[in-house]
Symmetry: C2
Subunit: 383 residues, 2 copies
């Protein structure tokens, strides 16, 4: 039976029916009180989700647009920045920084390993002139979570530098208390923990980031956050926003509020644990070590078989879409997304389907059901 797709990729993530219904409404005028009410309401809920008292601005664009906006609205050509790079998204922020003529120092880790926060500490202590540290919290390409809390702490100690964080696949999956951790620029995207389709992205900026903005000189217009801030104060947008995605956003944020942050974080933590343990129990190695596995995505590096073969067979047999490896990792890993609108049944289904597929391919090392047994125990214990 086809046409009953389940998305278990790190975005787009599955969208609840309530949210799809909201999305499919007839649009309204974006310069009306009715729409301003939606902007006001969603802004309050976004602040709750970000655990911040700062503004959270919405941009019609992908998560990359939000990160780029954060970078180019706070920095100027020649500014010294440190970029963490241990995956495709870390690489991307290096590219963005270079495209705008920033002076980039890179802290690297192998793909699949976390960034070493002490390296940031050392570099920050050595150079008082650093203007920003740019880090990907959950590295979607490898399933690694970086220690944003620790890195933010060192950035705070530096005084001048801004902490610019890509929280695209961490926000709404694990605890990212913006104000408490001292994150100055926090970027995220709609098709992730938010449980709505792609097309909206979000950037929140601290007071320190707005001060940096006042002396930042990089050219921009569509991504000029001053324009967004000015209109946000009037519950409006500088350019025609993605009205229908706002309808979806409002509904999805309401659902998140109903569930509560603690419950959302716990759910992702348990799904991660169940997925990790189940995969290990059937002899599939985790690409990122357990302790720094992302709450949103678990990457698997199977031995003796092309990861794409597993991925494609899971899709063909069970209509579950897993993610492949990107760039050099293509064929070496597959990734199981457990982010957003995911429940216990989805985890069981994914694990059972992978087990059955390994068996079909003749590469199973454990009886089918072993992984499901392990996962279900973890899921049930945490009910």
């Amino acid at each position: 039976m086809k046409e009953k797709l389940t998305l278990m990729i790190p975005g787009p993530t599955p969208v609840p029916e309530r949210v799809l219904k909201a999305l499919g409404r007839h649009p309204i005028g974006h310069r009306t009180q009715e729409f301003q009410d939606i902007v006001e309401n969603t802004t309050e809920l976004l602040k709750w989700l970000h655990q911040t008292s700062e503004d959270v601005l919405a941009i019609t664009g992908s998560g990359t647009a939000a990160m780029e906006a954060g970078i180019i609205n706070t920095l100027s050509q020649g500014d010294k920045v440190i970029c963490g790079e241990n995956g495709k998204f870390g690489e991307r922020w290096v590219k963005v920084a270079k495209a705008y003529g920033l002076n980039v120092q890179i802290v690297k880790a192998d793909w699949g390993k976390p960034l070493d926060s002490l390296e940031f500490k050392k570099l920050l202590e050595q150079d008082k002139d650093i203007r920003a540290v740019i880090v990907t919290h959950s590295e979607t390409s490898t399933g690694v979570i970086n220690d944003l809390k620790a890195i933010s702490h060192y950035v705070k100690d530096h005084k001048q530098a801004l902490m610019i964080a890509d929280c695209v696949t961490s926000l709404g999956a694990c605890n990212v208390p913006m104000d408490e951790w001292g994150i100055d620029v926090l970027a995220s995207g709609s098709q992730k923990g938010y449980m709505i389709p792609p097309g909206l992205s979000f950037v929140a900026m601290s007071k320190k980031a707005w001060v940096a903005n006042s002396i930042s000189k990089l050219p921009k217009f569509y991504l000029d956050l001053k324009l967004y801030k000015k209109t946000a104060d009037k519950n409006s947008n500088p350019f025609t926003p993605s009205v229908n995605l706002y309808f979806a956003l409002e509904e999805a944020l309401k659902m998140m509020k109903e569930e509560g942050l603690e419950s959302i974080f716990k759910r992702h933590e348990i799904y991660k644990k169940a997925t990790q343990e189940a995969m290990q129990s059937i002899g599939l190695p985790l690409f990122a070590e357990k302790d720094y596995g992302s709450p949103s995505i678990t990457a698997i590096a199977p031995k003796n078989i092309d990861a794409e073969v597993i991925r494609k067979n899971v899709k063909n047999n069970f209509d579950i879409l897993l993610a492949g490896g990107q760039d050099d990792l293509k064929g070496k890993i597959f990734r199981i997304g457990h982010l957003g609108f995911v429940n216990e049944r989805d985890i069981i289904a994914a694990i059972g389907s992978i087990e059955a597929t390994l068996d079909q391919l003749g590469v199973a090392t454990k009886p089918v059901g072993t992984g499901v047994g392990i996962a279900s125990k973890i899921l049930m214990e945490n009910k």
Copy 2:
């Protein structure tokens, strides 16, 4: 009876049920064959709509993002450009050009009047160093259509300069044959003639524009069209695209193809004529003269009464949302959108509602129904 809104603003425009249904589908993975098929199909239809053999690239963003992309991907700091400015959008492209350090010469006309194409001719003949001419085809803020065909012709004669055109409210409403007119950069937005909600925008570039791109040096990343072109060749996107708006786009473009370009253009022309004649027949002056009225929007400048009062009463009494005047024109004009998914009934309803509202406000100079009579005659003659 409320909650039966009709949008008669110049965007968002009404969305057909078929398109809303497509929009409200569960998202799919954007790196799948199924999605690539949609990109391939929509690209072909976009080329048909643009009357071009060039690529048409889709950006998740507003029409401003597409225009900005066109400007910053073909020019460099200090480049001499001529911007036409006879309304809010002309003003905006001047701001964009200045934000990127272009050397801007402005050709102005009063708001409500068209740009004088001969001024462009003169300036282009005087200066062989001009790199681009930036013009808004249909100036949404005033309801004026500029003579893009003539201006493009003078730009072509210049040889070096590129014709960069904002066709946001003209494409899909009147004839804009990109290749035939020699438009080098053509920007448009989803929430207009395309009949889908806001959030996607489009930019098509000629071979000459791509040559200019190869020497253009303005910094960019999210709006770097090279990245879009590279992925477009593989029916993909550089960043996660607005998947659900693509579903809507595909459905809406199919509808447009079914209707045919000639029929779409004729429909808009007749609605414009019916609206213009009806408004004049009841003593409401047109803000833009008939001969250069936009096919998408008719601006009305009522005497002796605040335009906002009419607009608000039409909304309250009939749930038709008309657009107000922007900036200095607030209270001086209201604007009737007749763009996209609009039919004869909508035109009759809008005119009748305006007539009834004028009567209620005690400012009618003709019996209610006069305008409807004039409009219906024009509509029926053209059936």
